[in-house]
């Protein structure tokens, strides 16, 4: 078994308190997982909707932090402020408006989305999924997709683009977005309960065999259908088969594939869903936990859907995020946007600090073995531009990056993705619209 070397039972025991995270100081693991080899590199892509107000984001000079980035003070040596990055394929390029659908749909795919409200969806495979295809088999969960907002609820999401584009940044195939989980309970269940094995709940070998038979049967059904059906139908069945395969892999690894209520599992409490701060933090905590237990190494997280209208009332703001981003130079609205921009950066800082507080087996921090990219596919929310993107990169990727600076990156986002995946251990010649790896300081 190539799974993690951590004792899962111990891990679960600790979680009893871990899930009170918003109110607790540190993680419950007394001893870091023992490994002979060097700890693996982890990678997260955190996306924020609606760009930012660049006037308040852009550092005035290399040694001064802008108002929005004040929160970076405490992690300054661990972060790179990337400047002048662009996403050429997020521009209209003849497709007209729809920048907020493209800010998410293009964010990790680097392709021009097919403009459609529903029929014939087409994006591209996103960079996290390329990495998961190559390296996801090393962990129980190849990749984890999270977010704070569920799918769009009504109508077209943006100027003739389906809501699918604005609700997702992680794409398994050009036609299938990954479902992003927005419920911390479900994330917990996926990360930990699925893999619980003990006492009464020990799954008997026979039951595992039964589950396997069931999946064999439905896979066979799909293959038979595939022979009878045509082009786009077959694509749907391929997607189905992929999903069956993923579940099978989990059963192989853990002897259990279906979520099970574990009587011995820790008691869990969650913050109010409408307590935005606590909700955000428990989701970020769960990513850190998943990484710490090495259940997964690749994660995407959406603070909001493209063009999100979240109302940050707890920050004293009245009005949706998107509406405010088009401030028309109204001073109050600009101030509100700056407050939101800064609040979101502060959550990134929270996550980075969390990673920094967790020790790896070699005594270094989890952050040292991470790359956390934070930013938006839109530059300035008021302008809908896709150059000069607000972008931060934290962590030193297992010693392959030397953070602690402002970097005039002057390139395409996909150049950066090539540089990140290489450090993650996945070498690519090209991705999206790039064939050129960006130089990151080391």
């Amino acid at each position: 078994m190539t799974g993690p070397s951590l004792n899962r039972r111990d891990c679960l025991r600790g979680l009893g308190c871990a899930l009170f995270l918003p109110w607790m100081e540190s993680f419950p693991f007394a001893d870091p997982p023992k490994r002979k080899e060097k700890p693996p590199v982890r990678m997260a892509f955190l996306s924020i909707p609606n760009g930012v107000n660049m006037d308040h984001w852009r550092p005035p000079n290399a040694s001064t932090l802008s108002p929005t980035l004040q929160g970076l003070k405490s992690i300054l040596k661990d972060v790179i402020i990337l400047q002048n990055l662009r996403h050429d394929k997020a521009r209209g390029n003849g497709d007209g408006p729809g920048d907020h659908a493209r800010e998410t749909g293009t964010f990790l795919t680097g392709v021009q989305l097919r403009k459609t409200a529903g029929n014939d969806i087409r994006a591209g495979v996103s960079i996290d999924q390329i990495a998961a295809q190559r390296a996801g088999h090393l962990t129980a969960i190849p990749s984890l997709e999270l977010g704070l907002e569920g799918s769009g609820q009504a109508g077209n999401c943006d100027s003739g683009y389906s809501c699918l584009y604005s609700s997702n940044i992680s794409w398994r195939t050009p036609t299938t977005a990954n479902l992003k989980e927005t419920d911390p309970r479900a994330v917990y269940k996926k990360l930990f309960l699925d893999v619980a094995q003990s006492g009464d709940n020990q799954i008997r070998a026979g039951e595992v065999a039964l589950r396997k038979s069931m999946l064999d049967l439905v896979r066979d059904d799909a293959s038979r259908l595939s022979k009878q059906l045509g082009g786009s139908d077959r694509q749907k069945l391929d997607e189905y088969l992929e999903s069956v395969r993923e579940l099978e892999k989990r059963i192989q690894r853990f002897g259990l594939g279906f979520a099970t209520a574990d009587k011995d599992a820790p008691k869990v409490s969650y913050p109010e869903r409408n307590d935005h701060l606590a909700y955000t933090r428990i989701m970020l905590d769960l990513i850190a936990l998943g990484w710490q237990a090495d259940v997964t190494r690749i994660t995407t997280f959406m603070f909001g859907n493209g063009g999100s209208g979240i109302n940050y009332r707890h920050l004293g703001i009245n009005g949706g995020h998107h509406e405010l981003s088009h401030h028309a130079n109204d001073a109050k609205k600009i101030a509100d946007i700056r407050t939101i921009d800064r609040y979101l950066v502060d959550q990134f800082v929270y996550f980075v600090e969390k990673l920094a507080s967790i020790k790896e087996s070699d005594g270094r921090s989890l952050l040292d073995y991470s790359m956390v990219l934070y930013g938006s596919g839109t530059g300035d929310g008021d302008r809908h531009n896709h150059d000069d993107l607000p972008m931060l990169l934290a962590g030193s990727g297992g010693g392959s990056i030397k953070p602690g600076r402002t970097l005039a990156a002057n390139g395409n986002m996909c150049d950066l993705f090539l540089a990140m995946t290489a450090r993650f251990g996945v070498q690519l010649d090209s991705f999206g619209d790039s064939t050129k790896m960006m130089d990151l300081p080391r």
Binding site: A117, A154, S162, K236, Y240, S243, A328, R383
Partner: protein
């Protein structure tokens, strides 16, 4: 080519249209010629034979037939010209407004003239609503799908969009969990369910109407200022459940902490809590029906008590809540209906199981199945039985596999001539009908009709449609179609500015939501004239909403009401719609106008340029109405052409505030509901606008509504291939007073519904 009277007043106004241009120029040869001259002068330099940017050559394209591929290019061109994206900024030949309008008018009347094409719907997954309904009809149990499955993504305005309904692994896992719960709820094997609440459900703590923050520590919730803890309980089957809670109290003085226990709002008991630390105590043994229930624990007597030891806040400490039950008992009706009494002492377990599967599988997969398909599932039963499961327990596994199979999760339709147009089979049509009208599987009568070959005949289909509409399951058209058409999902999350709209609460939200849904349900039940969606003299009110509207209502229940005033009637002036088209702190005539264009006339305006911004905040020193601020704001050149089209429609509704109450003042100043439509016609108030919508624009409205109904029914966005059929349906409808049932029948009779094309266009 038919002259398309698309567009009289509102629609003719592509954004750049000069005021006064009432009609689109008729497409005579002369106007055709003029449009082609414009095309040549402004477009050929980049998209002609000299240069063909983006591979588009209009010089040759004008000479070609209007088949699907060519028409697609024209449609894209039209959209880009409307949005003023083309001719591009770099052009040396900018287009003036009048020429732009001519060009657009010409582009928009180009119609498909290729061979008939019913379109192709990709293999479609059951969406969340359909899955829940199907499980209920198939297994006889309800599972809490809303808690188990995520909201589906939306394509073309609806959750039925085949290409958007994907099945990534994370979702497959959830469907696997749902299948397991469904089967375990249906088939009882005698054990007692124990449910630990905090693991499974949301705990909401309300103090003085506001959610309580934070004081959960070490698994214990401390209430020290009163408040109500609400827990959703899910009873997998009907029966008696024992509910226990870990309760403790910091007493302070002699009076014990007192808790009132309510189930679904009904008081069950009062309980004194004397243990200082949380200790498990029984809240009683309560009979619950299958499904979701609400348990409330209300801390009745919070108080700050002075004691010799100091000041103590009397507090309730709340730990885990558990629910156990129901006790083993005779199997329920779902169990009986699915698997019967079992083989008994002398029967053959395997043969009996095979009979069960042979009955179940055709219903689950919605088609006849082969003996081999049954035997494959029976092998799983054998395997489970060999592992020591009971007979009933072993049957759970093949049933679960059947529910995970693509034959269940997807709506499978076959192409018969591998290349060309296929007429769907009887069973495929049965599923199309049942998922369109019921969002669920076919019932026994539909299966019987399919077996008898009746569904490939118009009379057979019509009989089924009429029967199905009378069935309560047709409510799915209300919750599925109407709710999404009217974008009511947005009402769920709408929060008006609490400072201005203190009266708004969840009860009002529910009443608001009730009105358009019940109205639509009544339209369906009474087979009414579709124009009553716009203009009518009746609606459905409950006391809360009547009070909201300033109307009196006799009695305390929801009822159909005849309206005497002129301002309500029809969906556009229902509080729900007025609210979802508002901003939290001010009305938005532009958004209300956009709603009319998108949802009533199917003529969506282009989005605003990014830097347009919203309305400025009102200035306390100089009060201005939303309308006045909008009028200042929109005077910018890049804004005015679209706002001229949007705003007059929205101004008509300025007599309604953010949450849909009538008003005659906004920010203390009188409201003005008058507007001038782009065609020059003056209107005042909603009555004028609605009248225009059901007279001059009746055809446009019916075309829009038919298109949306068809999109919902077939699971793909309608396009150029469907326009002629939609026009024909509308023409027929208009001849017969445009009744709801006639529309549904016409959609069912369309090739789009009954056939599929083997190839994607």
């Amino acid at each position: 080519m038919p002259v398309r009277a698309l567009i009289l007043i509102v629609l003719c106004a592509v954004c750049a249209t000069a005021p006064g241009a009432d009609l689109v120029p008729a497409t005579t040869d002369a106007t055709n010629g003029a449009a082609k001259d414009i095309l040549a002068a402004h477009c050929f330099s980049c998209h002609g034979s000299q240069r063909t940017k983006g591979g588009v050559n209009f010089e040759t394209l004008v000479t070609r037939t209007l088949n699907g591929a060519n028409l697609k290019i024209w449609r894209k061109a039209s959209s880009l010209v409307k949005q003023e994206e083309m001719p591009s900024e770099e052009t040396e030949h900018p287009l003036n407004a009048a020429d732009r309008a001519k060009l657009i008018a010409w582009l928009d009347q180009l119609r498909y003239d290729g061979p008939p094409d019913p379109g192709r719907v990709t293999l479609r997954r059951l969406n969340r609503r359909e899955y829940g309904n199907t499980i209920k009809d198939l297994l006889g149990v309800e599972i809490p799908v809303a808690d188990m499955l995520p909201r589906d993504d939306i394509g073309d305005g609806f959750d039925t969009s085949a290409d958007v309904l994907a099945l990534p692994p994370a979702l497959f896992d959830k469907y696997a969990d749902a299948a397991r719960l469904a089967v375990e709820s249906a088939i009882e094997v005698g054990q007692v369910a124990t449910i630990v609440i905090p693991d499974q459900v949301t705990v909401t703590v309300m103090v003085a109407g506001a959610p309580l923050k934070a004081p959960i520590a070490e698994g214990v919730l401390t209430l020290d200022q009163g408040g109500e803890c609400q827990v959703s309980l899910y009873a997998p089957t009907a029966g008696r459940y024992r509910i226990k809670a870990d309760l403790g109290g910091i007493q302070g003085g002699k009076e014990p902490v007192r808790v009132q226990v309510l189930i679904d709002g009904q008081a069950e008991k009062d309980q004194n809590v004397t243990a200082p630390k949380p200790r498990t105590s029984s809240l009683g043994s309560i009979e619950l029906s299958q499904g979701m229930h609400r348990l409330s624990l209300i801390f009745i007597n919070p108080e700050t008590v002075e004691t010799p030891k100091g000041t103590i806040k009397r507090s309730l400490l709340l730990g885990d809540i558990t629910m156990e039950g129901p006790p083993a008992r005779r199997p329920g009706t779902a169990h009986q209906a699915l698997i019967g009494d079992g083989p008994g002492r002398d029967g053959d377990p395997r043969a009996t199981a095979r009979v069960v599967l042979a009955n179940f599988l055709p219903r689950a997969w919605r088609r006849p199945v082969s003996a081999e398909e049954i035997d494959r599932l029976l092998a799983i039963f054998d395997q489970a039985l060999a592992l020591g499961e009971t007979w009933a327990g072993a049957l759970r596994h093949p049933l679960q596999a059947a529910l995970l199979s693509p034959n269940f999760l997807y709506r499978v339709e076959h192409d018969k001539p591998a290349d060309g147009i296929t007429t769907l089979s009887n069973f495929e049509i049965a599923s199309r009908l049942s998922y369109f009208l019921w969002s669920s599987m076919p019932d026994a009568a539909l299966f019987t009709a399919a077996t008898a070959g009746e569904l490939t005949k118009p009379a057979g289909r019509a009989a089924q449609v009429r029967r199905m509409l009378k069935d309560s399951r047709s409510r799915a058209l209300v919750d599925g179609f109407a709710s999404q058409w009217l974008t009511l999902g947005n009402l769920e999350t709408f929060q008006p500015d609490p400072a201005q709209y203190r009266g708004f609460d969840d009860r009002l939200r529910e009443s608001m939501l009730m009105e358009p849904l019940e109205y639509f349900a009544t339209m369906l039940a009474e087979d009414r004239d579709l124009t009553e969606l716009i203009v009518s003299d009746w609606t459905i009110l409950d006391p809360r909403l009547a009070a909201h509207y300033g109307l009196s209502l006799t009695g305390s229940i929801r009822q159909k009401v005849t309206l005497t005033g002129k301002d309500r009637g029809g969906v556009l002036t229902m509080a729900a719609i007025l609210t979802v088209t508002s901003n939290p702190d001010h009305t938005s005539p532009s958004r209300r106008g956009k709603f009319v264009l998108e949802q009533i006339l199917n003529d969506p305006p282009p989005p605003p340029p990014p830097t347009a911004g919203g309305l400025p905040k009102p200035d306390a020193g100089h009060p201005t109405t939303a309308r006045e601020r909008l009028e200042q704001h929109r005077n910018r050149a890049e804004c005015v052409s679209c706002h001229k089209r949007l705003d007059p429609l929205g101004f008509a509704f300025e007599g309604f505030d953010v949450i849909g109450r009538t008003r005659d003042r906004d920010e203390g100043r009188p409201v003005d509901t008058s507007g001038v439509l782009p065609g020059g016609q003056k209107i005042r108030g909603p009555e004028d606008l609605k009248k225009i919508l059901v007279t001059t624009h009746k055809t446009d409205f019916l075309r829009c509504f038919t298109g949306k109904m068809m999109t919902y029914a077939i699971g793909r966005g309608v396009d150029y291939r469907d326009e002629d059929r939609i026009d024909a349906i509308v023409a027929d409808l208009e001849k017969n007073g445009q009744r709801m049932t006639a529309l549904l029948l016409a959609v069912v009779e369309s090739p789009q519904f009954l056939q599929r094309s083997a190839r994607n266009p």
